[in-house]
């Protein structure tokens, strides 16, 4: 009876439409509104004070503001690497070209590192599952060794080792007299494209596009008629054959500038600096441990019954691997692998420690020290990483959608 009275009372209260403090206090929507307003005011207030202080401090310390510093002369040398050649950098160039050089160098490390780490990761991941005891244990040892050492330590370690271990330029290691390795890095033949080389490059692109359509056509045919045609001969002919034929018809319009041993140093060729070698090596070796684990878990995630079912319906081992095992394994393995690509790109910023001129080292380091406009410079650097990360997330979403199990 007592309970009933309370319930009736409370019903009566809530029907009372006037502004009632007690009702407001226990109304979920009102509370939610209140908390959101409080958070909003707190966060905005924090930002407001911080920015206010920022302007005051900048005024007091006489730091410039704005992005005009980008047009100023940089006035320092950058370790000559790909970025310098792309931008044609000299100390007379502007600060913005330093940004551009750094960006190019970051992307180069990321690109080479991603390819290398994928290859090593694939190799180690498969070796980890080998039924050969020694191979599996070696792969496991590799993973345990390299993933439990901080990446910065690995970068410093390899850099120091390369500098100390590689010989003087005079005693360079030579590989067939076209590649040389010494303290100053790796000397590769430098390709010099001549007239008509672009034509060969364009034919390669055309070949790739054409082979895609050929594949699409035969796939459609397969779906409609059930007649299967192997497309790989067409692909090889289009992607490799076409450019080679064009290349030969045009009379091989590509020369190589090979490094020659001068009195003190090697001259010519394309110099890959030891900073780049150490950084890429360390990043690839480190990231490969994670990729290997992703690939291993992907392969292990495929149920044993899948392989048995494939064998039972009469698929050959190759078909079973291609059509049944790999698509399911990749669905598990690819998302973490793409995440590791992002990590590799972010970790490339550690090049600051060895002086490889990538974004955070050349622009976020040297320019920051010279100009002192930390806010603008760091904002620009962060924006680059944000864009890269956004791009990789989009890629990840695309892959996830494409690979999602299609329910019928």
């Amino acid at each position: 009876m007592y309970m009933k009275k309370i319930i009736l009372d409370s019903l009566g209260k809530s029907q009372h439409r006037g502004l009632n403090f007690r009702d407001m206090l226990y109304n979920n929507e009102a509370r939610a509104f209140f908390f959101q307003i409080v958070t909003f005011v707190l966060v905005v207030g924090l930002f407001y004070t911080a920015i206010g202080n920022l302007f005051q401090n900048i005024d007091e310390r006489g730091i410039n503001t704005g992005f005009t510093f980008l047009k100023n002369r940089a006035g320092f040398d950058i370790l000559p690497f790909l970025g310098n050649y792309v931008v044609d950098y000299t100390p007379e160039s502007s600060n913005f070209s330093v940004f551009y050089v750094g960006l190019v160098n970051t992307l180069v490390v990321a690109f080479v590192g991603i390819i290398l780490s994928t290859l090593i990761g694939l190799l180690i991941g498969i070796a980890r599952l080998s039924n050969n005891y020694l191979v599996a244990k070696l792969a496991g040892g590799y993973i345990e060794l390299f993933r439990n050492v901080p990446i910065l330590l690995q970068i410093l370690f390899w850099y120091n080792l390369f500098i100390n271990l590689f010989p003087h330029p005079k005693q360079s290691f030579a590989f067939f007299d076209i590649m040389f390795l010494n303290q100053r890095g790796l000397y590769l033949p430098k390709p010099i494209p001549e007239d008509g080389f672009m034509l060969a490059a364009i034919s390669l692109l055309l070949g790739i596009i054409a082979s895609y359509f050929v594949k699409k056509y035969y796939k459609k045919k397969h779906e409609l008629t059930g007649i299967h045609t192997s497309t790989w001969p067409f692909s090889i002919a289009l992607i490799l054959g076409l450019p080679i034929i064009v290349f030969l018809i045009l009379g091989s319009p590509l020369q190589f500038d090979i490094a020659v041993l001068g009195k003190f140093n090697l001259r010519g060729g394309m110099n890959v600096v030891p900073e780049f070698l150490a950084l890429t090596f360390a990043l690839s070796v480190y990231t490969a441990t994670y990729i290997a684990e992703a690939i291993r878990s992907g392969i292990e995630a495929v149920d044993k019954g899948q392989k048995e079912a494939a064998a039972a319906i009469g698929l050959t081992p190759t078909q079973s691997l291609k059509l049944i095992i790999l698509p399911q394994a990749l669905r598990v393995a690819i998302p973490p692998t793409i995440n590791q690509y992002l990590n590799l790109t972010k970790n490339s910023s550690l090049a600051t420690a060895i002086g490889y001129p990538e974004l955070m080292s050349a622009f976020g380091g040297t320019v920051l020290n010279q100009v002192g406009q930390a806010v603008e410079i760091l904002a620009m650097a962060m924006l680059v990483y944000l864009v890269i990360s956004l791009f990789i997330s989009l890629l990840l979403n695309y892959v996830n959608n494409k690979m999602a199990i299609q329910g019928r």
Partner: protein
């Protein structure tokens, strides 16, 4: 009368038992496997002997004095120099001499007992924590440990309060600093991470938006940019005249960075809780606070413990980055001492040593995380 002559059971063929069978199935099951086995053996052959030669057989051990956490072990009266070590193998006396800097940085040599006590206390913690599990007042003991331990450690290391000679933070360094940054980073970032995770899962749009923005922003940029922000830009955001310690700035940066990662780990745990748990908590009339503290978080945190440890391992690895903003953790100390003109060309020894120490710590942590993962994995596997 024919007598049944019992013969001894014949032994299985030698290729079907023991080591031979094992070798056959595991190393030489096919010709490809045999090739792989020999290739691996060759790989081991070209790597292991030179490494062992350099590290042990050709190395010098017995010069000078080693100071190991306050205990002095004297090898010889003769001082170690770059010359009497030789160039063939490693020169470990170099490490003996620098060990103090690797462990304590520039901490005053007369005050070494203070960090040593903290190390000992930390070691003791690993003994006490398993013991209090079945103790009657375990909540009280745990709470007092959580409050007292950092307090005592801070007083011991920093000094001051009229008790001990104060030691400035720029004198802290080496392994001591690595451990300080890692533990403070983990302890401070964890509650922030939990709040951010709850915020991101919240129904309140504004809170959700801010939490998501913060988490995604931090996760998209490298830690270096955050550390640079903390060390160059953070002082500008404060009212002028506010002095801010370099170490404290780095710690703020690291804590915020780690909080975003913890938030994502905890969010994974929150998402794994069945909806029924939330609904049941609502149905019995628990408030938001009660619902999370009593029902949701205990379950969500339990699920995410292995990932929390995993994330802490990453943080421990990331502490080495403070080298770039000029704090002297263990790696930075190794990097610094390698410039010693008296010991030219001994960088490798330092790096190998710090690699071994870091690896030992991180490997133990990752083993521990795997053990936790197995223990908390209550899912039935067949």
């Amino acid at each position: 009368m024919p007598v049944f002559d019992q013969q001894e059971t014949r032994k299985p063929p030698i290729s079907q038992i023991g080591a031979v069978l094992w070798l056959k199935t595991n190393l030489f099951s096919s010709w490809i496997n045999s090739i792989l086995t020999f290739a691996s053996l060759y790989l081991l052959y070209i790597m292991i002997p030179p490494l062992l030669n350099w590290m042990i057989f050709d190395a010098s051990f017995s010069f000078g004095t080693i100071n190991f956490f306050g205990f002095e072990i004297k090898f010889s009266e003769e001082m170690a120099t770059n010359d009497n070590c030789g160039r063939v193998g490693a020169c470990w006396p170099y490490i003996y001499e620098k060990l103090y800097m690797y462990t304590y940085g520039f901490y005053p040599r007369t005050e070494t007992w203070r960090p040593n006590t903290v190390f000992a206390l930390t070691g003791l913690l690993f003994v006490i924590v398993p013991l209090i599990k079945n103790y009657k007042y375990k909540n009280r003991v745990t709470l007092s440990l959580i409050i007292l331990y950092p307090l005592i450690s801070y007083v011991l290391i920093a000094g001051g309060f009229g008790l001990l000679t104060p030691v400035d933070t720029d004198q802290w360094g080496g392994l001591l600093l690595t451990l300080i940054i890692a533990s403070v980073g983990i302890i401070v970032s964890f509650p922030i991470g939990v709040l951010l995770a709850l915020g991101r899962q919240s129904n309140l749009k504004v809170i959700k938006l801010f939490s998501t923005l913060f988490i995604e922003f931090i996760r998209a940029v490298p830690l270096i940019t955050i550390l640079f922000m903390a060390s160059f830009v953070l002082p500008l955001f404060l009212e002028s005249g506010n002095y801010f310690d370099k170490l404290l700035r780095a710690l703020i940066g690291i804590a915020l960075f780690q909080a975003a990662y913890f938030a994502e780990v905890v969010r994974g745990g929150l998402q794994a809780i069945p909806r029924g748990q939330y609904e049941a908590a609502d149905a019995i009339g628990l408030s938001y606070f009660q619902k999370n503290v009593l029902i949701i978080l205990p379950q969500a945190l339990k699920i995410s413990i292995p990932n929390i440890v995993g994330s802490s391992i990453s943080l421990f690895k990331d502490t080495t980055l403070v080298l770039i903003i000029g704090l002297f953790d263990m790696l930075a100390m190794v990097n610094l001492t390698s410039n010693d003109p008296y010991w030219l060309g001994r960088e490798t020894e330092g790096f190998v040593f710090v690699t071994m120490v870091m690896w030992a710590i991180l490997y133990t942590m990752s083993r521990y995380s795997r053990k936790l993962e197995l223990r908390f994995n209550t899912e039935n596997k067949n």
